[in-house]
Amino acid sequence: MTTGLFVFLTLAIIAITAAAGLILSRNTVYSALFLIINFLAVAVLYLIMGAPFIALAQITIYAGAIMVLFLFVIMLLGAEKPKEIEQMKWQRPLAFVLGGAILVEGVYALLTRVSITVTTNPASEILADPKTLGISLYTKYSLPFEIASVILLVAAIGAVVLTRMPKKDKGQ
């Protein structure tokens, strides 16, 4: 077993275990922490596939900003351990059956289309350079980039409008 394969398998096991912890943990805070572990494992995976800028953006944006937002909201609402009342008994087994069906289908579709002998490339100089990413982002993809900034603005305004207190509380 080569070093690359060993690193990959270790990261894959960490990522899958963290994902399982996320969906099975009863405490919402633990779920959020498991998700951070999953994001970190995938970020290291990006690193070994030659995308260092995306790996670090993943850590700062996902594991940093987004998960802090999640943890704040969980603690703000006091929703660490909400009671989950099962209303539909058939929902749980059906979820596993449907999820398993998509898993089998996806793996089958992949393995019939992607050859197992094709390997990933070692980290290349051009692909790993943030300069290449920046040039591509500001020339070829400048319109999507502007639209992304508008989406962020709309999301920020929407979040403020949605969480605003009703007027009657202000008057009193």
Partner: protein, 100 residues
Amino acid sequence: MIPIAYPLVLAVILFCMGIVGFLLRKNAIVIFMCLELMFNAANLVFITFANHYQVIDGQVFVVFVMTVAAAEVAVGLALMVTIFRTKQSIDIDQMNSLKG
């Protein structure tokens, strides 16, 4: 180097775990986190193919997916806070009426 099928299969597994969590859980915040897991699996596929074809475009798309995910989380969590204020619960079984 690792066969390209391995990261793709890992992405499929993570995506399906996201789907199972989405269907299993009643807590709306955990459902949001499962959504993030699925976004993450999609990003992994983008990065794998960017590496395979040696083009930067896959990485650019990951930047956009991250942007949309951040926007979605901001609005979604604001909605959660608002719903919790009116219903005192974030159980999605309780959210069966539009008017509080």
